[in-house]
Symmetry: C2
């Protein structure tokens, strides 16, 4: 059985990307990084998602990036409400995807996986330099010379199946793949409920609104609230 | 003052590369990774080297890579004596340089450094895929699209000044730069003295022999031994 290392954050996109890998018959080796993110609630979502995907293994690596200049990691930079006017939003974490993909490369070489799946997409968060098609293309060119060949004789393939999708399209794709969005956490904050004000909450809400579907996480949380 | 993030392992090559940066007038931001290497004695060498280089800061990041398939990290794979007959030696750590450079990218973006210095070289350890000129070239192409521009308006430059040097040439260059090789640790094992049998010890000994110089680390250790 072919193996894929799937980067799972706990959010919607990486779950849908991993569900694509699963649909294609890959055995899933899930990889999550506990990097000091303020929204560390996403880690418990990542655990549930990996279970739901029947991952063969799920590694959660500790790597403290709280020293990076980002609103997601650094206690001296506030998480913004609403969308940023700047080219690169303050929630951009320097080199985060490069770090995550490099860790996935190490895992892919170790377990002899032929693919790495990542949920990046360029449409909604076009301000992030490491979410664009050209970035993925150049990372593949790097992998081509940076790693051992897989036992099948090939090179590890970096798969970003959502790269050209909007949040609406990702939600539609996820629903088609029977992804359970109630397991996911998108909010940049780690409250009891999603804050509803950060860029990630706003984007998620817009996606579900456009899809004409109630966000299953909100539905679940309201139900739980009524039960307690 | 221009800033450079210098990857410092505790060995000779990264020290010489960082000394090049220092000579060029860069303020040094040293970065070392405690990745579960069996030769963790190199970490105390890295501390001494950063001090000797008058680094503005020295970060030692913890990242457990003991799960990777490598003789340097994995307790079930022995460190070899002598050189390997295989194309890629068992001491190769999957994606290690890619991980280290990506962490250096995060630091360079955070402190607004314009360069990353790494001590890789292709001549002696040509079996390592991530030590070759083509690897450095493609990583630069990735950095060009993966990061914010520096405040000077440029892109972070990946500098590998030793890429085409043999161990002999690196030693000569280090001596010219007044590098104190007695601070460095190359042995893949972490004994009281270098083992003298692993590939790294053999390569180091050959380099000093060719240079017609006694290895300052061995001289120092013998002296200390006689004093105790």
């Amino acid at each position: 059985m072919k193996k894929a290392v799937c980067l799972i954050s706990g959010g919607m996109d990486s779950y849908v990307a991993a569900a694509e890998a699963s649909k294609k018959g890959y055995s899933i080796h899930a990889l999550t990084v506990n990097y000091g993110q303020k929204n560390n609630r996403e880690l418990s979502s990542a655990r549930k998602i990996a279970l739901c995907l029947k991952a063969e293994k799920h590694a959660i690596l500790d790597l403290d990036l709280s020293w990076t200049a980002s609103a997601l990691t650094n206690s001296s930079i506030d998480i913004p409400n609403g969308f940023s006017a700047s080219d690169i939003p303050p929630t951009y974490v320097p080199a985060r995807n490069t770090i995550f993909i490099s860790l996935a490369m190490a895992m892919a070489e170790t377990v002899n996986a032929d693919s790495i799946y990542i949920g990046v997409n360029a449409v909604d968060f076009s301000g992030y330099p490491d979410c664009r098609p050209e970035y993925i293309k150049r990372f593949q060119a790097l992998i081509d010379v940076a790693t051992k060949k897989t036992s099948g004789g090939g090179i590890i393939k970096l798969q970003a199946p959502l790269i050209n999708m909007s949040k609406l399209e990702i939600i539609k794709e996820g629903l088609k793949l029977e992804v359970d969005f109630s397991l996911t956490w998108s909010c940049y904050r780690s409250g009891k409920m999603p804050c509803g004000r950060c860029p990630s909450c706003l984007l998620r809400a817009k996606g579900f609104r456009q899809a004409g579907v109630k966000d299953p996480l909100i539905v679940l949380m309201k139900k739980e609230k009524n039960c307690t």
